[in-house]
Symmetry: C3
Subunit: 426 residues, 3 copies
Amino acid sequence: MVPEAQVGEEMHKLASRLFPICRSITGSGVRETLTMLQEYVPLTLNEVPSGTPVFDWIVPREWNIRDAYILDPQGNKIVDFKRNNLHIVSYSVPIDVELSLAELQKHLYSLPEQPDAIPYVTSYYEEQWGFCLTHTERTKLKNGSYRVVIDSDLKNGSLTYGELIIPGQTEKEIFISTYICHPSMANNELSGPVVTTFLAQWLARMPRRYTYRIVFIPETIGSITYLSSHADAMKRNTIAGFNMTCMGDERAYSFLPSRAGNSLSDRVARTVLSHRHPEYVEYSFLERGSDERQYCSPGVDLPIVSIMRSKYNTFPEYHTSLDNLTFVTAEGLRSSYETMKDCLLLIEQNYFYQATNLGEPQMGRRGLYPTLGGKVPEGQVRMMMHILAYADGSNDVASLSSIIGVAPWELYPALGTLRSAGLIRG
Amino acid sequence: MVPEAQVGEEMHKLASRLFPICRSITGSGVRETLTMLQEYVPLTLNEVPSGTPVFDWIVPREWNIRDAYILDPQGNKIVDFKRNNLHIVSYSVPIDVELSLAELQKHLYSLPEQPDAIPYVTSYYEEQWGFCLTHTERTKLKNGSYRVVIDSDLKNGSLTYGELIIPGQTEKEIFISTYICHPSMANNELSGPVVTTFLAQWLARMPRRYTYRIVFIPETIGSITYLSSHADAMKRNTIAGFNMTCMGDERAYSFLPSRAGNSLSDRVARTVLSHRHPEYVEYSFLERGSDERQYCSPGVDLPIVSIMRSKYNTFPEYHTSLDNLTFVTAEGLRSSYETMKDCLLLIEQNYFYQATNLGEPQMGRRGLYPTLGGKVPEGQVRMMMHILAYADGSNDVASLSSIIGVAPWELYPALGTLRSAGLIRG
Amino acid sequence: MVPEAQVGEEMHKLASRLFPICRSITGSGVRETLTMLQEYVPLTLNEVPSGTPVFDWIVPREWNIRDAYILDPQGNKIVDFKRNNLHIVSYSVPIDVELSLAELQKHLYSLPEQPDAIPYVTSYYEEQWGFCLTHTERTKLKNGSYRVVIDSDLKNGSLTYGELIIPGQTEKEIFISTYICHPSMANNELSGPVVTTFLAQWLARMPRRYTYRIVFIPETIGSITYLSSHADAMKRNTIAGFNMTCMGDERAYSFLPSRAGNSLSDRVARTVLSHRHPEYVEYSFLERGSDERQYCSPGVDLPIVSIMRSKYNTFPEYHTSLDNLTFVTAEGLRSSYETMKDCLLLIEQNYFYQATNLGEPQMGRRGLYPTLGGKVPEGQVRMMMHILAYADGSNDVASLSSIIGVAPWELYPALGTLRSAGLIRG
């Protein structure tokens, strides 16, 4: 067991091991990733065959790639998939041709405004091929004949995802989802899988009221696939959930609410963030962009939120080669991990307490009140009296935190004392 | 059919034709007005006999006037109804007497602070007589004997109103009410009848979901009379409604909400105004002053609002001879007409859409999504995804407009595309 | 009967008579206080034996004190209960010993930051003894042997409270509670009992819709004792209530809402304060500190609020000898009395009115409307039209006051006129 003090470094190490793998929405990169994660947590791997109808979609053919490069007119390998897997447009079909520069240009992608970044481009559902490169490299290309080789295949296979159910005392579930379909980028997306993995380790050794359903899936098609066979049970049982993404850098926290906006997940996330990271930025659901698009869709309506550092589509490194293991740090990962723990602890502790007496109980004879009167009580005594005043069965701990104006963890000792004394029940 | 580009001018022309007629709450001026409107729209004229009980009221005797003037001591006609029908207090009883200036003064009305304006004064329910004149004219009057002649009569007859039902696909109705009881004033009130007339022409040639109930009535007694025989059906069927008044000048838009304040009419009016005329002023229902006083009264509770330019009782020209056809312009009338069309179009389009799939549909295979991924979609694609995300059957188009933060008309193309593709149903 | 103009002075006189009595939560001081109040209002005195279980508490033994003093090494009486009853810690056990200064110090209480104030200290539920003195006196004490005498006893007896039921036309009740357990302090707490006494006199001679339940009790243990035998009936019948405390100084008004925060009491108090004393300070229920702690506790949930001047625990004189009859004034008491009358009058008048007609009634034929039209009505006419517009059975007078934006007492004449004319019913 990794000591909590080293979790940040351990997570960063895992990210470093996963980083070089070429992931896409299907294929051996996904399997290799999930197999590596099985060293940490007992994931079940599931394979869904190409062609399976999932809601409005069909599981696509499986894509695998072995090599891809461009040779310049002098035969120099100028763009090489083996040096950076972002160089290839994901789901590129196999090819081996000679082209003029003009023809090649139609298949090249670069970012004039970030000339040293390789962009990340995909084409899952249309047969195409393409290469991504820095704009600096691109502008150096001279006229002549280029040879393009892509050694990939796109054929029937399956979509792979990992699943872990950590049972609790009740069938009610917390759902945690992250995605493993991005090639060599760190914040979006290795931070989500890495934090989720270590959070699952922590959950497994914690006493748990709730059952935890944790999935490692390809984004969009993966969440649709998973929902298509699990949505009914999930709608019945899920009381809260988190989509884990962009959790590894050190910039300000971001929060993307659920579509409903006021679910338990939303309330818990806002409570924790407002006390731990009050500078956090709350986005609108209009700015969504990950699997909450499926989880919160009409008729699915799961209570899923995202707690992030730099939100996808807002930071300059997003979807480029600049989103690397320097941008993502051990400290960034550790802080997200701790924040998620605070959220899950609050959900676990989040009883609707009810005072067992009418009127205030006599705290004094229980040794819970200063014996000398004359001034208003302070500190823990005041906290206990506030809890008793609002413990009417309609306020959960998140509400008590909001009403009393203190962090939930500041309430836990007083709640424990009152519960032990039989003065509240939950 | 008038081309839409000329509607403003045509409305101003109609206002000019109606302007000279001496209207009151009953009498030949009302009939002459409605008959002229029948040249434009197939109004039904209704006559309700004097003495008919209508709610707490009784339909008054009919008032008609042929002439009225004051002769000065030298026999000069100094105040002449035939030059401006505002000179006579509406419902003045007949008289033909000689009076001293002191006695005459008790029957004169002028505005010291607007010395060149003739005020508009009525006395419908108490037998009186009086003349209105500019304060400038009044201060010139010298002592001596004045002859006062009012050739009017006040006898049993009827109250006249016009009604037009434009049937739609359902029995559910939009109610549009305007009033035709004011003598020669333009904004308050010929703008309402004139815009209503051209709006009715437009409605008649539009495909319609809803039935339109349109009335041209005298204010207060007319709306009470109409409600006394139609309130039950209207309460059952009316989903939205507008009281049409003060719509012809070019100053900032005004909005008077319904008493409830959150009806469909309110939401639609605020949506349209906030996008078309964001500088509009929202008044409180406490500042009401027209037929919403009856339509929104307790137990009637119809969802009636007013979209105005300069609101009655707030502009200096109000209820004086300064409210004329210079103050009301073709452009002012046209803009109100267009704004009302936007409101009615929104009501017609205002379905509660429901996405037909669980999860996002696969837009790509329908040609509705860029095939190359990597960045968040924009423009129409983004609009469609937002609509799908919120099409849960609880949001109508007015709500979608508010949630997504775009004008409803910017949603119509995307809604049409999604509907045609079978991805939403309403 | 005291003329209303002299009520302030009479209340201050009563406070002066009550001031010297040494009150605590039980004992002869409470009885003497209640007996004196019986000269003003027909209170019933109730005795609850020591040892009686009341909710989570037990009625304590009765404490009585005859004398207490400290003799300095020279035999001078340096602290003397007979000069100021704050010198003794309430519920001090009897003692007669010689002590060194060092040992004596453990039993002394003073306020270094208010060196000329004697603090108020209690120890109801732990057997202790102690003396309170000014810090100035304390710092003068020299080493030597001190004799300490407390001639008190703490034995089985009873807890005493006063109760007054003033019947109304219905069983529905207004609850008024104040406390009589503080020794010689004026604002906290003689102002509450004194204003309550005179308010009870006024109520007894007023026509009343509601029954008034008025109690004079010791704080905390008294309200718990009273609730333990009356809570069920009170929960059934109480529509509003006030905890009367800190009502005698002349500083800004304070308002402590009920726990629910939106009860009739809250609405009425805010309505009256916002019109009479718009500079009032609204506190959070988190800043509670008196018997609302019991009355608003979970499962009791009575609609009890406090209208105060300087709120307990916020003013420098609080719980010291500086809270005296100079700080509390006739004018301060009078203003609180008037404010409470405004609240009770509003509750008595607080019907949910319903207009009896559909549409506006014809005010003119009832002489309630100017006969000459043309401008919007003002003053009383406008007020009546507003009331009629909102008299839909869902708005009580407190709501009408808020909607129309006028003080409730400005509505009473118009409400009376409309009710007499049969145009509204409540």
